[in-house]
Amino acid sequence: MIKLENIHKSFGKMDVLKGIDLEVNKGDIISILGPSGSGKTTLLRCINFLEKANEGTITIDNLSLNVKTAAKKDIIALRKKTAMVFQSYNLFQHKTVLQNITEGLLVVQKKPVKEAKEIALELLKKVGLEHKADAYPSELSGGQQQRVGIARALALNPEVILFDEPTSALDPELVGEVLDVIRKIAKSGITMIIVTHEMNFAREVSSRIVFMDGGVVLEEAEPQIIFNTPKHERTKQFLKRLTPELTFDI
């Protein structure tokens, strides 16, 4: 239900995406892995038109847009089917935690205030932050802010949630609490596309891994296959360097 066809993206003379094809089915959890500069984040941001691809077709459900001819209202319609969780959380600073979550419900989905509040509180419970409903983002730790960001994305009940390196800005101790939340919602059957450097997490939670390098998809397969029997030299190099040499027993 999400299809990317022949996505090309250049920034000036630099070709970042060189023809990406990707198919994601409902309920899939796709992790996009790869070295920095491989185009992972750019690809993710092309899906919801935060970056405008130069060429290709993006289809979500029954809405198919050619990136060259897409009209503004079509882009907004497409964005309404998605939600994004950002590396730097991007919470609305002037709104409380609860208001951050109800914002989309009230403004985009035009839900009545009471219903929006109920949905928001339910989700805050799910991410373990109902006691912070009236706090402002500046009063929260990074892990808490990201969990609010996840709740904000979930509230809209989108077709797909896009995660852009959700834990990369967190200190190691807070990474766990956010990954726990993502694990939890992964079980609920919602479609997710995650760009991450958390290899073990990706391996554990994904239904499929997509390995990118130099603007193309090098390999795409189930986690066991990618992590145990990678085909490409580059994939092997990348995974090997990231396997921790030392393991601690706690």
């Binding site: 309404k80 991007n90 002037h94 985009v108 500046s138």
Partner: protein, 234 residues
């Protein structure tokens, strides 16, 4: 040198009568200029090449020339133009109207930059977050950008209020009787220039202090969300 303190008190009393008028002269341009500034800020952030060039010129001229020039050019320019081109005399129009026009155009230029800087101070990430959930640019601006832009602009806006309060004093050059103009009149008729202008200075100062105090109160109230720190216990 002997200062006539009785006269200073008399001057203070007389000058206080024109405080409302002076405030009107100072703040009407700011309010109207805010609307102009908003429009101009949008134009300058858009891609409309020709209109943008005009807006840039407007801002550059009005920020680049002293307020006195604006008041003189607007006053003498309009009156002469009306006489020669339209053969209409503008003598019936009260002088302060020309001051208002000049100050409004001046305010628009300065406020467009203040508003633009406030808008730019809102992090791009928040704008992307709003867009990623399907908010239109108009919704994003109204609900996310503008509220935060205004809060960021408060110190600058306070500056403008104080600056315009003082700028009204130039109006006396075209015989408008605001604070300075009135001070000049009572000074001339009593030959006590120093006392009259000391009184005027005191009044300007007190009003400026009140503006500062009000601004501080407002700023404290609207920045509640960013003055709290990170709590230690989760």
């Amino acid at each position: 040198m002997q200062l006539d303190f009785n006269f200073i008190m008399y001057a203070l009393k007389e000058l206080s009568k024109v405080i409302p008028f002076t405030l009107f002269l100072a703040f009407t341009p700011i309010i109207l200029g805010f609307v102009i500034g908003l429009i101009v800020a949008f134009i300058r952030m858009s891609d409309l090449k020709i209109i943008k060039a005009c807006a840039n010129f407007y801002v550059s001229f009005y920020r680049g020339t002293p307020v006195i020039m604006h008041i003189f050019i607007i006053y003498f320019g309009f009156t002469n133009l009306a006489q020669e081109v339209l053969n209409v005399s503008l003598n019936g129009i009260p002088l302060y109207v020309f001051v208002l026009i000049a100050l409004t155009l001046n305010a628009g230029a300065f406020l467009s930059e203040i508003i633009r800087s406030g808008i730019l101070s809102v992090s791009k990430g928040q704008i992307e977050a709003a867009q990623s959930i399907g908010m239109t640019m108009s919704q994003t601006f109204r609900r996310i950008i503008f509220p935060q832009a205004i809060v960021a602009a408060i110190p600058n806006l306070t500056n403008i209020c104080t600056a315009f309060l003082h700028a009204t004093s130039i109006a006396f050059l075209i015989s408008v009787t605001e604070i300075t103009g009135t001070a000049n009149i009572i000074a001339a008729s009593n030959l006590k220039f120093l006392e009259a202008f000391i009184a005027a200075a005191v009044i300007y100062w007190v009003i400026s202090i009140l503006i500062e105090v009000l601004s501080a109160k407002i700023e404290k109230k609207v920045t509640k969300h960013i003055r709290s720190g990170v709590v230690q216990n989760t």
